[in-house]
Symmetry: C2
Subunit: 496 residues, 2 copies
């Protein structure tokens, strides 16, 4: 059964004095009014971590009560930072089953009332336990991915910083046209370069902010002008170090293939996209994983303006997570709402795109391990063809490999990438150097060293010694190669 959108609603994102319940009720009321409904058959709630951000359980019941809809079935759904897209997917299947006609999808998060240190700690719980132990935060892992991307794309860090600056500048600029965005102020290159370093090379302006906000959509079995035409969802290993590639996300690639297949479209058919830019490098990687641009060439689309609002393939016309804000549970649904507004022609004079018949939203859960791709289109869209359709996008998906838990051991390896983390978690020294080290047997190890305080201290591709210490690995530049033999003490066990 086909599934359509009949209503949308969203609060302003940013710092709010309202409670989570009230924010979510506000969004829900707007969506129900927009759909002309005063009741629905079921409610699906997306919140990532209401338990720790707000101190409540049973949010599905609290919200149905706040809405005055007690009785209505209400279920909470969660897929880490892609929760807003995950709850939309689940509700899509519920309507597609034919058992429910109108379903309210309601997503939100309330975060700004907590001190940043506490919010950061809660957010970092989505990171793999073994990597979290090193003090790795989301920005730290994203920063290591960014450095590796630059290396593989043969860009100097200075060149890549200019690219990242342009992503930020574009999304802030787009946000100025979004009345619900957290940041409605354009930034310039200098603002970007002056903004504090969070985790080298990522600055404040590379990272989505901490935000409050809620978003709501009504899905219906009744034909309406906007149809959900494709949904794809895929996961990847919890730990980043188990991935074959650090510069693309299998979970986006697999989700994209599924979504394109369901919608019977190819990347080249997409008019515009909302791409999860919790960190600016993720927008670039996202546009590659979605098949818009070849691997390693996504950064060129930033440079040549392709993804600008007036470009050939606008990306994040809403301002993205960067400017709209990132209330974790809500973001995935807010992206979908931007697609709907654009398809409806309701985005407002300053923001409305010229060509908006089919749009795509991509959302990242965790550090790229629970991702969704959602495609929506106008039902009056002129399809170029439907019979004989073929998927032409066949991304390389190198499987992640989870080795058997390795025992701490000494040895040498090559520094694949690193970061200098400034905003360290409680209990860790700041700054803290973190690096992924590829060992001689091809295994990737996360290691740290609080004594390296500057990126100049380290070099990607350089040899390092790995030294087990307090259950973690410390890495040190292998300046004294003669002293530490280039062999592991024990042969690492790996699962094939």
């Amino acid at each position: 059964m086909d599934v359509y959108v009949s209503g949308v609603g969203m609060t302003r994102f940013g710092r709010s004095s309202e409670s989570l319940d009230q924010l979510m009720a506000d969004a829900a009321t707007l969506a129900m009014e927009n759909a002309g409904l005063d009741r629905v058959d079921a409610i699906y709630i997306g919140v990532m971590n209401v338990e720790e951000f707000v101190g409540d359980s049973n949010i599905a019941t609290v919200l149905v009560d706040t809405l005055g809809l007690s009785g209505t079935p209400s279920t909470r759904v969660e897929t880490a930072s892609s929760t807003g897209a995950g709850v939309f997917e689940t509700a899509f299947y519920v309507v597609a089953s034919g058992h429910m006609k109108n379903v309210l999808v309601l997503a939100g998060e309330k975060m700004t009332h907590l001190p940043t240190v506490k919010a950061t700690r809660i957010l970092s719980e989505v990171i793999d336990r073994s990597e979290r132990r090193y003090g790795a935060t989301m920005p730290a892992l994203a920063a290591m991915i960014a450095q590796r991307y630059a290396q593989e794309a043969r860009l100097t860090i200075s060149q890549f910083e200019e690219i990242l600056a342009q992503v930020a500048i574009k999304n802030y600029a787009n946000g100025t046209h979004n009345p619900l965005a957290q940041f409605k102020k354009a930034i310039e290159r200098d603002d970007y370069l002056k903004s504090p370093m969070v985790s080298y090379p990522l600055r404040i302006h590379d990272c989505a902010p901490i935000s409050d906000g809620a978003a709501a959509v009504i899905l219906t079995a009744q034909p309406a002008p906007i149809r959900v035409s494709g949904i794809g969802h895929a996961t990847d290993t919890s730990a980043v170090r188990h991935r074959a590639s650090l510069t693309s996300f299998n979970s986006t690639r697999e989700a994209a293939v599924k979504a394109y297949t369901m919608a019977q479209v190819n990347p080249s058919d997409i008019d515009f996209a909302e791409v999860h830019d919790a960190f600016t490098p993720f927008e670039i990687i996202g546009t590659e994983d979605l098949g818009f641009f070849p691997s390693g060439a996504g950064w060129k689309a930033i440079e040549d303006g392709t993804t600008q609002a007036l470009g050939k393939l606008p990306v994040n016309p809403s301002g993205g997570l960067k400017a709209r804000g990132h209330p974790i549970g809500a973001s995935g649904l807010a992206q979908i709402i931007e697609i709907i507004w654009q398809l409806r022609g309701d985005a407002g004079e300053d923001r409305q795109l010229e060509r908006a018949e089919i749009g795509l939203a991509q959302s990242i859960g965790g550090l790229g391990n629970n991702n969704l791709v959602t495609i929506l289109e106008r039902t009056d869209r002129k399809k170029t063809k439907s019979e004989g359709w073929k998927l032409t996008y066949h991304p390389e998906i190198k499987p992640s490999r989870k080795p058997a838990t390795p025992e701490p051991r000494q040895g040498i390896g090559i520094l694949e990438t690193f970061t200098i983390l400034h905003a360290t978690p409680e209990g860790f020294r700041s700054p803290l150097a973190l690096g992924f080290v590829k060992t001689e047997v091809g295994e990737r190890i996360l290691a740290c060293n609080p004594d390296y305080r500057s990126p100049k201290d380290l070099k990607i591709g350089g040899k390092v010694n790995l030294i087990p210490k307090e259950g973690l690995y410390v890495f040190e530049k292998a300046t004294l190669m003669g002293r530490v033999k280039g062999l592991f003490k024990s042969t690492p066990r790996t699962s094939e």
Copy 2:
């Protein structure tokens, strides 16, 4: 599209040294082996509060990784203490949509590693915020419901204690035949009466234990011997005091009507049931709400043995939450698994019921506000009729009424029910008397008084004064009626 069961798996419930991941992986592996599958199209994970019990977010990804199934879409679903049934319902719709063929439903919780005080605090977060502020815990609210039930059924508390004892004795006895049950030891009347009081009149033996455990089911679109024939889900107000009745749950009644309607059966068609007995009185209330027995007469079925394993309508042949254990997120799914085992004839010599062609599981979320009813049957079940089927069960559902937040004010009222809570939350005096007071305008107020230490101090139906204190209401026996005038200082505002 019809939905069938092709595999089940469950760990032993109780205190486990295994991690949550490992417990859940164990259950999943058993279910996949049982179904003869080595991969599935999607995974739906039910865990109530992994964030606080375990300190992790992103559980859907962690588990798919633990299972070695990275790539597979994985989504977490939560409906408070009915989570196991809620995730089963969601996965049912996913398969019914035709988009997924084989789906793994996997539910669990890990609780015993925490001190009881901390586990109790986490559990109490499902309670309405305004009622939690009084120190109300799940047992306290259940105890007040129990006392009210006895009053309305015209049973003395001593008589009702004997009934509750028989519920506990029955479920412990059933548990002795369940190799996966936490408690496999029968108890006698004396054991029950000697067990410590948790919240008067409920004792330890009336309350489900804190447990670890996991359960898994494979749902499939491919015809198999067991079919999911009915699912119903309904909510109720967050606060107990807003309900029209304290002795039945609208959410069960509405869910039951939906499930019977989908399955085209009536209560009298059900061969056996698993009924959510987190507290013994809830089993009695559940059997009434499900239409097995008239309102106020469910207790007679305990007395006359109807719900015994060898009775006409066996209830909780597994031992129920009481004896099997209650790892919150897993319980709803464990109930469904017992239904499946019985329908398959796989429950084992000592536990297998003679008549098991159609079974029902009822699960309670929160304090009776997010409930589900699931009906499963053998596809070879001889149906008495299918055409011209009519629902004959039409329970009275008095709507809950949520008044506008009342301002603290003085007045008198009638004590509808009370409890003496012994296991109080941190920061509260013990014991603590809690009571629901019906005011002259028909509004129900929760009030407390730490000076009443014995049930003899209080009488249901007696007049009490309500005194606002520190933002809460204190109730006191209205012995000095002349002093406090029988009128509120301000007229309470209520929403109609």
